[in-house]
């Protein structure tokens, strides 16, 4: 089993722009698919929002911001894919999501690490995923349409 998921993406934008897309609640919500209140994330605060993802709109999302180091690093804890509305996940362990920004090749290298999966009973969530498959497939098509239409 693997305890962590790591992703890297090179963005053709200055670090300040990428930072805003991560640290500003409304910009974060735009690409992540959640509606948070206004403002920027502050270390130590809990932030609640409504998922805006088609098929998941009935769900709330809560994160606990751990670290905010401007233009360098932002991290939060949450219950990954807590997608069954009738299940109370609050007693389960959380994962830590860390965004790290570095200047690279005239743009920004963004690294995302989500760790702590070893402590989470993931197999219990497999069933919930199957029932939500249709939602994800539909969302992908919507994005494709949106991207194509705006060109």
């Amino acid at each position: 089993m693997t305890d962590r998921i790591e992703k890297q993406i090179h963005l053709r934008a200055p670090r300040a722009r990428v930072w805003r897309a991560i640290a500003d609640k409304s910009e974060f919500g735009q690409w992540f698919g959640v509606k948070f209140g206004p403002g920027t994330f502050k270390a130590g605060e809990k932030v609640n929002g409504k998922i805006t993802y088609p098929g998941y709109e009935h769900l709330d999302m809560e994160i606990e911001v751990v670290e905010v180091t401007p233009e360098r690093r932002l991290s939060y804890r949450w219950h990954p894919n807590a997608i069954e509305p009738n299940v109370d996940y609050s007693s389960e362990p959380t994962t830590l999501v860390t965004f790290t920004l570095e200047e690279r090749d005239g743009g920004t290298l963004l690294t995302i690490v989500e760790s702590g999966f070893d402590k989470i009973p993931l197999h219990r969530r497999a069933e919930a995923f199957r029932s939500n498959d249709a939602g994800w497939a539909g969302q992908t098509q919507r994005i494709e349409r949106h991207v194509t239409a705006s060109r």
Binding site: L11, F117, H123, A126
Partner: protein, 78 residues
């Protein structure tokens, strides 16, 4: 497999093996049952596969979210 079989050919004590199995059982990776007077452990491969599938799914969700991030940043560069 029994504890005896699991410790054979290793330098690990029965107590240590039992402790590790307890942790794995808590995670749903193994489970035990009685066969006569013996306690037997089995690997729950289905659980492992399901956990693997969930991780793959979370990984895919990140890929898609990052692609949306890229589109957003490149559409609104300022």
């Amino acid at each position: 497999m029994s504890i005896t079989q699991l410790t054979e050919g290793t330098h690990v004590s029965r107590q240590a093996v039992t402790k590790h199995l307890g942790v794995l059982a808590g995670a749903g990776v193994v489970r035990d049952f009685r066969r006569g007077r013996e306690r037997v452990w089995e690997l729950r491969t289905q659980q492992l596969e399901q956990a693997r599938r969930v991780l793959d799914r979370i990984s895919t969700q990140w890929d898609r979210a990052l692609e949306r991030l890229r589109v957003m940043i490149e559409d609104q560069p300022e």
